[in-house]
């Protein structure tokens, strides 16, 4: 049987995003991934006796920026709290976090559900905290190794309401968050390196039931795809257990990417009492209305809003608009291009076509694409004026301009002799020549076999050496065939 007919899945996600700050959350140590172990570790990171934390002002700034983009309320009076637990890679024996006063609360993020409709996912809270270090258990046969470079790296934890209903929606939600944090320069969104991490709270219930089922927490999913896989597995597991009359236990499970299964973690690790209390080393952080207004004013227009603008106002197809709004560099390129030219549809087509192919072929990101948006618009303008054909532009002009960014589209067209002939005399001559060459086909056309147009056009192009303006030529041809 298909469990989805009988059961509903309820998912809430907790996403940790490492913030793109130059230094750590509470010390001047450099926040950088990939450094040799235990290099970025001052007395504060090491939790040496007598060391005190100092808040990096960029941390609340980025948290507020993200919160505003996720439509959250921003808290003005913020307390920090200590979350106490012992672990070998937690130097102080506590993390400086926030407990009952998260800096952002009650917002939402829009995703698309399976039918393509907009679905609003509630954001319960976003709070600031610091990362722990890394314990490495597989490098040395006897000892666990500790790398504290990551200890004290600033994080925000984004906690959703349990509004997600399918693993695919969870995937969508995470994809949107990753897009957003990258777009806002809040986080680099790299799940493999762990700068974006996700834990899931999952339960099932019979369709129509309003009470929540027993919640299971799933950890250790290091890609968006693995989150989806883990949730798919967990749904099957919980439904099967329920069908067999077994009990679902409230527990923490870990996902194993190799087997695609989740396993219960030792019960010891779930019975934490973190003994939160206000952090006495940091005074409360008070944000003013002006501070919040400044961050709001500096927010760029968000991808979600741009998507709506591109599709509704500029007439860009949804698929194209989705691809363009996928990252900030593509958005920036497109935005510059639509400032330089008004054929939005053509700009989008060029981005989705020749530009994307070029980037794929060269394994390049649009950030590094040599041709400026203004130059691309020049090419499009040349086509629109009828001076060159799309084919000539895409196959000759574009590649040369990418190689030689100083040269204009018109220069290339002229030097390669690609300027189309749309003069009536010349066209007339080529059209008559083509029709004369195939009188039988003229007859076929006139009997309704419109498909022979292509044959004539090919001939016209051949006679003109590719210089005939295809639009003008086909109009004239049709006129003559139908007269």
């Amino acid at each position: 049987m298909n469990f989805w007919d009988k059961y509903e899945m309820v998912i809430g996600l907790e996403v940790h995003a490492q913030l793109l700050t130059r230094t750590k959350a509470y010390s001047a140590d450099v926040n950088e991934y990939g450094e040799l172990p235990n290099r970025n570790v001052s007395e504060v990171t090491l939790g040496l006796p007598g060391a005190l934390p100092l808040l990096n002002a960029r941390v609340p700034e980025l948290a507020v920026r993200l919160g505003l983009a996720m439509n959250c309320h921003i808290r003005k009076y913020n307390m920090f709290a200590r979350k106490n637990y012992f672990y070998a890679d937690l130097p102080k024996g506590y993390q400086i976090s926030q407990f009952d006063t998260p800096i952002c609360y009650e917002g939402f993020l829009n995703i698309k559900d399976a039918e393509g409709n907009v679905k609003r996912i509630g954001i319960e809270r976003i709070h600031m905290e610091e990362d722990a270090g890394k314990s490495i258990h597989d490098q040395d046969p006897w000892d666990s190794l500790i790398d504290l470079n990551r200890a004290g790296v600033p994080l925000v934890e984004i906690v959703s309401h349990p509004d997600l209903r399918t693993p695919a929606e969870a995937n969508q939600y995470l994809t949107e968050i990753r897009k957003l944090v990258r777009y806002l320069d809040v986080c680099d969104g790299n799940m493999e390196e762990g700068s974006l991490r996700c834990d899931a709270n999952v339960s099932i219930r019979l369709r129509g039931e309003s009470r929540l089922g027993t919640k299971v927490e799933v950890k250790n999913m290091n890609s968006i795809r693995n989150v989806q896989r883990a949730l798919e597995y967990e749904f099957e597991r919980q439904c099967t257990a329920t069908e067999n009359g077994e009990t679902i236990y409230q527990e923490t499970r870990t996902f194993d990417a190799v087997s695609g299964k989740t396993f219960a973690m030792r019960s010891k690790e779930k019975a934490h009492d973190y003994r939160y209390f206000p952090e006495p080393d940091l005074p409360p952080l008070v944000l003013t209305d002006a501070y919040i207004a400044d961050i709001r004013a500096a927010l760029p227009e968000l991808p979600d809003s741009l998507f709506r603008k591109y599709t509704a106002q500029l007439g860009i197809p949804e698929y194209d608009a989705y691809w363009i709004t996928e990252d900030k560099y593509t958005i920036a390129y497109f935005e510059d291009a639509i400032k330089a030219g008004s054929n939005y549809k053509a700009i989008s087509n060029w981005l989705m076509g020749p530009v994307r192919s070029y980037l794929n072929e060269h394994g390049m990101h649009i950030e590094a694409f040599p041709l400026s948006p203004e130059r691309l618009v020049e090419i499009i303008a040349l086509i629109d004026s009828g001076k060159v054909s799309y084919t000539a532009a895409a196959t000759s002009i574009f590649p040369e301009m990418v190689q030689n960014i100083g040269i204009s589209a018109l220069q290339v067209a002229e030097s390669r002799n690609l300027i189309q002939e749309s003069g009536a005399d010349a066209l007339n001559e080529w059209v008559i020549k083509a029709m004369d060459a195939y009188p039988d086909k003229v007859e076929e056309y006139r009997n309704g076999k419109k498909g022979v147009m292509g044959l004539f056009m090919g001939e016209i192009m051949k006679f003109s050496g590719g210089k005939a303006d295809p639009k003008a030529a086909s109009a004239l041809l049709r006129e003559k065939l139908e007269s």
């Binding site: 090491l46 007598g50 130097p91 009492d273 209390f277 080393d281 005074p283």
Partner: protein, 474 residues
């Protein structure tokens, strides 16, 4: 006896005039430290460094460019960091631990020419009121060696009372400067919370801890406070309020009205000699022209419990970093897992009083108990602070005894932690509320033991406290 104990303020004149040198003075201190080693006040003496620094100070005096504290010989409580020197909080947990950085106070003292002569014994992690919990053993009160010097800064008090330095620094979380100052006949100042940076002070109760001086004279205290106070980019709780010229404040006498608590004059839990001293201090102040006003403070019964709930909560978290992983004591036991390593290292490294407070603090923060203890104590803290502020709206300072008793004999309170904790009854108030407070010597009891009176002032009014204490002290 006090006249023979050198204060820096008077020595400085000799240094300037060439009467005697800093090197002479340091040699004298080092000799006395050796002669009084039975007091167990110092846990380490930096003899060679002190001699070297004294030579530099003498050169400065000779060249006519002495700094503010040039040649002031200072001892540091063993919970204040000094780069490349050991700091252990008198705990087995930190035996052999060397700090890689200096406390802000240490840095500032050195920059102004002070000479650091050594580390001073204290209660383990500053937890105690008798200096009996130190891993180095008890400190003797120089005035009566059968008695405690008070705690937790017992070594700092004993060293100064025995004339082993010009000034010593202690830390005060619930009276750890003022109570030993009273027991040893010294001036002891606990500054306003936030006046002095805590960077480099081994934390006990972070929202209570303040570093402050033990001195013989208010001038010395004023000088030291001018140097160690002020904003510090390394301590977010250090105030940005400008630091006044405390030495000038001594002349200003801006206190007009003194509040006192008549109920304490009748309180049987205070020994008669202290009640008598309280009465005659009030009388002297009145005859000196101050306006004395009667005040009421109804919260003494709540102070000690509130203090112990909040400080032990913070301590239980502050002391989590002593886990045997990166520094400090690690168990020699083999075949232990991570939990076992923590358990054994911490059980072996910490003494009983520290363990008691970690357990108490862990308990009051536990889920299910938080509201009943920690949250409630925080509310009491607010109420007590408001009540103290109200008293200080009607008066410039509040005068009260520092302790209910004079120095007690070793072991007198060891079997009863509650009795020991009640030693703090008059001192914890200023820590709970964050107000500045000073203990000044005011006579002796019938056994000849010194006793101390205390002034609590408005926040950041250290200058007023020093001026008035200077006038009313012995």
């Amino acid at each position: 006896m006090h006249t023979t104990l050198p204060s820096y303020f008077s020595d400085r004149n000799a240094f300037l005039s060439g009467g005697f040198s800093c090197a002479d003075r340091v040699d004298g201190f080092l000799r006395r430290i050796e002669e009084t080693s039975h007091l167990n006040a110092f846990v380490e003496v930096f003899g060679d460094e002190a001699r070297q620094a004294a030579a530099e100070s003498d050169a400065r005096f000779a060249a006519g460019n002495p700094r503010k504290l040039e040649g002031m010989v200072i001892g540091l409580k063993d919970n204040i960091c000094y780069k490349d020197h050991a700091v252990t909080a008198s705990s087995h947990m930190l035996e052999g631990y060397v700090s890689v950085f200096s406390a802000t106070v240490t840095e500032r003292l050195l920059q102004e020419g002070a000479i650091i002569i050594g580390r001073l014994n204290c209660d383990e992690f500053a937890m105690g009121s008798s200096n009996e919990t130190s891993v180095y053993g008890k400190v003797l009160n120089p005035i009566d060696t059968t008695r405690v010097p008070g705690g937790s800064s017992g070594g700092s008090a004993a060293a100064l009372a025995a004339g082993l330095a010009h000034v010593t620094l202690g830390s005060d979380t619930g009276g750890s400067i003022r109570q030993p100052a009273a027991f040893c006949g010294l001036l002891g100042l606990k500054p306003t919370y936030g006046r002095v940076s805590r960077w480099g002070l081994l934390a006990y109760g972070s929202s209570f801890d303040q570093i402050g001086p033990f001195t013989h004279s208010v001038q010395d205290a004023a000088l030291v406070m001018e140097v160690i106070s002020g904003a510090d980019e390394k301590d977010a709780t250090a105030s940005h309020k400008p630091v006044p010229a405390y030495l000038d404040a001594l002349q200003q006498k801006d206190v007009k009205t003194i509040a006192y608590l008549p109920e304490l004059m009748e309180n049987e839990s205070i020994i008669p000699a202290i009640r008598e001293a309280y009465r005659n201090t009030v009388e002297q102040a009145r005859s000196n022209g101050y306006k004395l006003t009667e005040a009421r403070f109804d919260y003494f019964d709540y102070l000690v419990p509130t203090y112990y709930v909040l400080t032990t909560a913070e301590a239980s978290s502050n002391l989590s970093r002593y886990d045997g992983i990166r520094f400090g004591h690690r168990t020699a036991a083999e075949k232990v897992d991570l939990d076992g390593l923590y358990r054994k290292s911490r059980s072996e490294g910490f003494g009983w009083e520290v363990k008691r407070r970690i357990m108490l603090g862990t308990f009051v923060l536990s889920s299910g108990f938080y509201d009943a203890y920690y949250a409630k104590a925080q509310k009491v803290r607010r109420v007590v602070t408001e009540a103290t502020d109200r008293i200080l709206e009607g008066a410039d300072v509040l005068l009260l005894p520092t302790t209910p008793d004079t120095a007690f004999e070793f072991g007198a309170n060891s079997d009863d932690p509650i009795k020991m904790y009640l030693q703090d009854i008059f001192t914890v108030q200023a820590n709970v509320t964050g107000h500045p407070a000073i203990s000044f010597p005011r006579g002796n009891d019938e056994k000849g033991l010194p006793l101390g009176m205390q002034l609590i002032g408005r926040k950041f009014a250290e200058g007023s406290l020093l001026a008035l204490a200077g006038e009313l002290m012995n």
